[in-house]
Amino acid sequence: MALDQSFVGRSYPPTRPYEVGREKIREFAEAVGDSAPAYTDAEAARALGHPDVIAPPTFVFAITFRAARQVTEDPQLGLDYDRVVHGDQKFVYTRPVRAGDRLTVSTTIEAIKSMAGNEILDVRGDVHDESGELVVTAFTKLVARGAEETSSTSQAGGE
């Protein structure tokens, strides 16, 4: 069933602050196998002009995706999350996320489209720090595959 177009433009309340820890950044950098010193060594980060260790560019997705559950689990929207795949992802940075940040995410539904039996949902997450400054915006495209399509080997959102 088509998603309700009246949800386009809907914003959800900001999430509770997520405090970015040095050791969480280290864990993430090690998980992706990236030994860049700016992620684990505060001195190295300072030498690049950052006040503390910074997070790899995609680190913030863990926070914005959790916030996007407000959308994907909104009973009024009624998205069938079992059919959802991640189509596109984009980040626009004001500055890198860094240790000590207390980040909140404000999530907005930017667009809802139907295409070839799929429902395509564009969700924007604006990530602010404690002082209210915008740190990064995450643009997430979610594709709910048509119910008749059971195989997920052909990933939705292809060019």
Partner: protein, 144 residues
């Protein structure tokens, strides 16, 4: 910010040093823990096959994280990345053997965007098992 590559030293077509990133089951488990994405298609072969996948697949966000390393290693400062986007076109299939899979990333400067801001667009090509796994993989990068 202090990227080690100077805007004046690159032109449209400048190639970034390519890199290949191995990915095996252990790495996917680590990434699941670090990212909080415990979707079983990334660690449970039985479940992955039940939903029609050929095998366990890597997290799309893991592939996205690896691909940008070609840019962050090149600039020397990860903060040089001011914009980064990808399209997840094909899954990276990760078999349960001693080798796993490989993610091969090449990148080149596609355009110089702004002489004042010293920004360039880098286009990335991201392959696994001979197939393109990310589409529209682009970063805007601020150089020195």
């Amino acid at each position: 910010m202090s990227a080690k590559i100077a805007y004046a030293d690159v032109e449209s077509g400048t190639e970034l040093p390519p890199c290949t990133f191995p990915v095996d089951r252990e790495r996917l488990v680590r990434y699941a823990g670090a990212s909080g994405d415990f979707n079983p298609i990334h660690w449970n072969e039985r479940f992955a096959k039940e939903v029609g996948l050929p095998d366990v697949i890597a997290h799309g966000m893991f592939t996205m994280a690896e691909a940008i390393r070609v840019v962050t290693d090149w600039t020397g400062d990860p903060a040089a990345v001011v914009e980064y986007g990808v399209r997840f076109t094909r899954p990276v299939v990760v078999p349960d053997d001693d080798k796993g899979a490989e993610i091969e990333v090449t990148g080149k400067v596609a355009a110089k965007l702004d002489d004042e801001a010293r920004t360039v667009r880098v286009d990335l090509t991201v392959m696994s098992s001979g197939q393109k796994v990310l589409g529209m993989s682009r970063a805007v990068v601020r150089l020195a």
